[in-house]
Structure formats: C-alpha cells, structure tokens
Symmetry: D3
Subunit: 164 residues, 6 copies
C-alpha cells in the first residue's frame, strides 16, 4: 500500500476566505490529506488582524467536518516544513496573471530546494477570484460588509475584531 | 478502498516534446494513473506532422517503462472523454502568462460542463518552457536540429518524417 | 439639450453569448443608446455558424424588451461606422489580460483614426469570463450542452443549427 | 428628464499627473459630471508629498475652466462615497496589464458591494502610460525635471515642495 | 581591432511601419550594422500585400540615407541566416506583454540553437505601440488612412497597392 | 574611431545573483564596457543584507577576471549617472511579464528624461528566471541553502552574514 499523498496549502490566511476554502476542498480531489499551513511572517505581523494561533483555530472550525483537512502553523522555509510533514505537494489557488507569475517562480524555486516537492496550481473559482484577505481586512476596517466573502465562523470572528 | 485517481493529460502532441513528458511524469505525483489523451482536431489535420495514431504510438513508446501511463485518442468533448474514462483530473503544463490565461478559462469552462472534473496546472519546467510542438515542427521543417527538445524515440520519428 | 450619447458594441456575435448581453446591458449605464454592431469578416465567413443577418436578428430578439438597444451590421472600418451613426463611444468587454492588451491597442488605434471616438472597457463579469462565441461553437459542434452560456432565443437557434 | 450621470475618478493624486487629467477629461465623454475623489490612505500618509487638502486644491486649479469636474476628498469605502454622491460610475485609467488585473478585480469587488456601481476602464493614452505619481515624486525628489508630466499649476507646487 | 557587431532585425515587414523603422534606428545605438531580414513565410504568402522582393526594396528606400542599415530576404532558420551573416545579435521591438512572452521564448529557443546569438528586446516607442503591419493592411484594405503609421515611400506603395 | 559604447546595469544587487551575472556577461556582446551600477535606496536600507559598499566589492570580486566590467555606486537619477559616465545604454534582465511591464515603462520614462539613453532588455535565462535577490535573502534568512543561486565569492559573504 502506498503512502498517503499529503498536500500543503500554505498562506497567511488573515483571515481565511471562501476562496481559500474552495482551494482546500478542491485539493482533496487529488490529495489524501491537506495541511493548511499558516506561515508566520514577522514583518507583516503588526498589520495582522489575527494572530497565527487564531488563524489556525479558524481554519479548524471551518473544516471541522472534514477529517482529511488539518491546520498547522509553520516558521522557516516551506520546503523544510514539507519535509517534516512528509508532504509531496504544494497547492496554490491563483486568481490572475500576476499571481500566476509569482506562484510559478516560487514553484520552480521550491523544486530546486526540494526536488520531490511538486507545486500544483488551481485556477481560482470565478466567484472568488476578486477576493483576497487583504481586501477583506480593508473592507472590514472601513466598516464594509464582508459577509459574501467569508464562511460563518470566520465572519463572526472578523466582525468581533473589526468592532473593537 | 477508494477508486484510483485518473488524470487526463490532453493535447495534440504533434509531436510529444520533453516538456510534455515532464508534465506527464510530474502528474504521477498526485494521480494513480495518467491517460495521455490525443485530441483529433480535424481543422488542423492538414498541417499535422503525424497522424493521431502515430502520436498515440510515440507516446506509448516514450512511456513504455511506466505502467501507470497510457495513451489514447479521443474525439469530441474532453468532459465526455473524462466521463467515459472515469477521470477526475485534467493536468496541463503551462509555460507563460498567455498559456495560463487560456488554460484557466478552459478549466472554468470544463468545471461548468462537468462539476467533478478538476483541472490542475503545473508550471512548466524552465528547461522546457520555450519548447512547443509548433516550434519543433517549424524547426524540423526548416532543417534545424530538434534533438534537444525530444526524447530519442520521438526524435527518430521526426527525423524520418522531416526527411521525406 | 445635448445630443444623445450613442455607444457601439462591435463584434462578430457568432453567436451572441450571455457575456455579450451583460456588456450591452451595462453599457446602458453610461450611454443613451447602444448599437450592437455585427462586423462582416469575410475571411472567417466559412467557419461561421450564423450569417450576419441571422446574428442581427438574434440580437434583436434578445433585446426585444430594451428600446435603447438596436442591432446593425457593418462593413469596413469601425470608425467610419461610428461617424455614420454619430457614435462617440465604443464599448468592449474584456475577459483577461490577453484580451485587454488587444483591446487597448485597438482603442489607441481607433482614437488616432477618429479623435472623438472614446473606447471604454468593461471588465467581464466573472460568471461569463470563460465564455466566448468560439468556445460555444466548438462545444455545440461536439454535441455539448451550451445552455448555461446563452439566452433562450439564442440557444434555440444554436440547437437547431447544431442538429443540421 | 433623467438624473445626471455622475462618475467618480478615485485615486491618491499625489500629485495629479497629465495622465490623470487625460482620464478625467475623457470621462466627460460619457458622464455628465466627474468627481475627482482623493482617498485618504493613512498608511502611506507619511511618504506623501502633498496633504489631501492640497491635492484637492490642485485638482480644482487644474480643472478651473471645466464646470463639470469637481474635486473632493473621501474616507472609507469607495462604494459608500459613491452612494452619498449618487454616482453610478467609477472611471479608472489603466496603463498596463498589471494595472488592468488589479482594476478588474476591484471592479468586480465594488459591484458585489454595490450592484449599481459600474466601473469603466479607459486605456491610458500612450503619451502618459509610463507616468505615475510615484515616479513623479521619485524624480522630483532626486532633482529631476518633471515638467513633461504635470500641468503648470501642479508643476509649480511640486517644484516648491521639492525645494524645501 | 574587433569584428563589427552585426544585428539582425527579422520580421515580415508587410509593410514596414514607423514602429519597425524606430526599432532599426535604435538598434544602431549598440550595433555597428543592422540587417533588416525579411522572412519568407510561405504559409501566409497568399494574404501578403507585398512580395518579399518589394519589401526588401521598400526597406532600402526607407533607409537610403543610413549606410549602416541593409535589407535582405532569408529563408529557413534565423540562426542559420545569423551564422551566414556573422550576426551576433537579434533585435526585436516589443509592444506589449503578449508580444514579450512570445519573443522571450523565441530568444531562449534561438540561444539553444546557436549559443552565441543574443536577443535584445527594445520596448516599443509608445507612439507606435498600437501599430502593426497586420492592422495597417486591414485599415488600408478597408479604405482607411494609414498615413500616420508609415513613412512617405512606404505610404506611396501601400496606396498604390490598395487602389488596385 | 568611434567612442566606446558604455552600458549601465543598474540595480540594488543585495546580493548579486547568478541571474545578474548572466545579464552582465551577455551585455558584453553589444557593449564595450559595462558599469554595474548599485543604487542607494535609502527607504529599503534597513532591510538590506549588505551595504552599498559591500555590494560594489562583491561585484568587483565576481568580475575580477573581466576588465570590461566595473562596479560603481550611484545616488540620484539613473539618467544623471548615465550622463556623468557617458553611457548610452541601460541593460536590464527581465524574468517575466510583470517585470517586463515595469521595465518597459521605466525605459520610456528614461528616454523622456534623456533622449539618447536607450534601454535594452535581455530575457532572463530560464535557469535563473526564478531567482531574485529578495528570495535569496529570505531563503538565507530562514536557513536555506542558497548555493545554487550565487557564485562562490558572493555565497561566502552571504553565509557569513546569515550566520551573524
């Protein structure tokens, strides 16, 4: 029996959007297990809406009904995290050509750092292709309604946070 | 025990390049079985270098040592072929932003036609990102050396064809 | 009282898709009158699904309830047609970066040919951004279901045509 | 008699360039009134060359002879400002494919937040497509000549500012 | 004394536009000699406006005053022509991102075929970035005025041809 | 005898990568002399890995065997530095479409500021197209192996720096 295929979905997920959730669910079509991997990025920590721990929690809530998805935080290089977790795949949703260019360069870079790590790119669902965590933070921060872009558990957290 | 994951690598493969072979091999990282699916495209048949049957044969030769890869020709819609073969994935290598845009639109279209069919995009290996079947046909037709772009079995066929 | 603002929506419309209809309706937000202008393109006439006259008719049917929209065929340069119709605007929907580049070059060219002719570009609705007349013709030709991409009157014509 | 069509030209305009002025003037081809809307963006305020109030003044000076153009500052969401002003259009000039991608995503986002708000994109005039406020600030800050990129009133202010 | 640096400006030049002329003149900034190389492309010959011989003549006329520019026709691979002429550079003007992607792939391909052949890309002058031979042929064929896009000698030939 | 052609390769080179070195070497195909010009960019100085002086030194080391290459730091506008050094060319390597768009806009801007300054763009070698100084700093900072992206002298400096 072969080893399970473990895919990483790395990102900052500040917060997790419906676009992210869509990518994670679609990754289950070709991975046995998906690890949603929240990166610590200290340089942007001060503008963050949620701590890394909160983001891990919100991912767990959002995928509570899906035993093949787990959430984890990581520091350092993605390739090192992949090695530690035995992951053979990185999955990234891409919304447009600018995203694509960045992701394809990262994919090549990561393969040079760890030759067994394959990056697969999922074209973003058109319903979510205009949504990003950054926009959600901006809109919420300016008092706008972000309900169309977030699942209920995440929305509740964002509203609580934006109100404080 | 779950069903095997079958991925289609569709294309015209006239001829199969090292870039194609790289994509097929990488698809084995997340698919149990890869069907290299040669499309009949009658409108371009007159400029073809090889018949669809010859292309299927050359793919079989190139992957003779890899039992998880098979070659097949198909006519009609890709989604219908995917249904017939029980495939849940389409895999496409992408070389640049223009390619990406086309493939991401096709991916959305195919999901609308068959909601269970997921398209995953593999960023082309940089060593092959400038190679296309069209360029290979042009270079071979003008007497150039296409050895760097083709595996031995394919090269032999192209040389024989170009010489006639 | 100022002259009415007349906008041209040029294209081949073979056939009119829901993406086209969306662009025409959105153009009414800033134009008093929209002329859906079907271009004769003799070089591609042989692959056409519908004659220019049929396309004009199907546009009239689709916009039968909207008195501010009319359909017309034109030959020759778009700028000459704009002059004859007193149009000051060209409206084009754009689906992606490749489209955008082409359209922005055409916009500059048309302004050099007729300095009063302004081109405005509407970002395609994400629900339609993967739909094109070419894809609809291909899918219909291969027996696929194009109902999600066409309004009822157009769909009826396409099904009749594809069946013959 | 129908309501006047009010278009917003949002931006930071730090400073207003000839490229911006061209877009505003072209918007008058399809809008009855254009509101040049200067956004407060507190995060970048520290690198600003001009205060928001100064930018509003310089826009008023530049369009002093055009009664259909007005200048205003806004805070918060663009869609809220559009609601308050009764604007039905957002107009954005676009210089290249990267710009286009960003603007088309914002256009979709804004329509989801306010379904009656249409974004129209004007391809940048080639004479101005390489000019941005950021570049003007950099060049002026390094002692370069920015006369080709600014109208006289703006240039006078930039020179005064750069000299201090 | 070192060998002169010879640059090729390859293309179909059907007809030579002001955009082409600009690229050739700019190439003289870094090449000792520029060979404007007209490719025979038999597949498109039937839609051609001018024969290859006529195109060579019109290039000679346009650069009659510039002894460092010559015109030549070539068949076969560009790299073979470069070898025969002792050229070390290929120069291509690029108008947009789609062009760029194509040219950068060709540049890599040509270096793989001839490692000493360097391709340099000149960003198109904004005044000409919307002009292409294809558009000139279309506009002239439809009776439009192509004077802004061509130098006098070329314009005279195009008018004579379009009138027949 | 004509003046030597001097080309500038401007950048921040923090650190010099194999991609940079490749561009500099290829520039020698059409320039008599290449000045690798390290820009002071005070706003990003705090995140810098190396001082400008250290970067100049590492460039000198890397090109110690190539008398036609020199390294220099500059402040202020590139066009002013070009004037002082008598340079007629700017050479930039470009990795993808996003880069290209930025560089082509800078090229037009620089020609407007100094009409004799030509920018030539070299398509990045595919082996290096995913490498950037920013990525190298990130990977080194996270303890990754950057040996594949740097020449030996640079690598030694980066390792020493990363260890402190």
């Amino acid at each position: 029996m072969s080893d399970p295929r473990i895919a990483l979905c790395p990102g900052s997920f500040d917060p997790l959007t419906l676009g992210h959730e869509d990518v994670v669910r679609r990754a289950l079509a070709f991975a046995d297990r998906v690890v949603v991997a929240v990166s610590h990025s200290p340089t942007t920590a001060k503008q963050a809406m949620f701590t890394v721990e909160e983001r891990v929690e919100m991912i767990r809530e959002a995928f509570a009904g899906e035993p093949r998805v787990e959430a984890a935080a990581f520091q350092g290089l993605l390739v090192d995290f992949a090695r530690r977790r035995g992951a053979s795949l990185v999955v990234r949703g891409v919304r447009g050509g600018v995203d694509w260019e960045y992701e394809s360069q990262m994919a090549v870079m990561n393969r040079r750092l760890l030759s067994t790590l394959e990056t697969v790119i999922l074209p973003g669902d058109p319903m979510h292709a205009h949504v990003s965590s950054t926009l959600v933070r901006q809109i919420a921060g300016l008092g706008g309604d972000v309900a169309p872009f977030l699942s209920p558990a995440v929305l509740r957290r964002v509203r609580t946070r934006a109100a404080t």
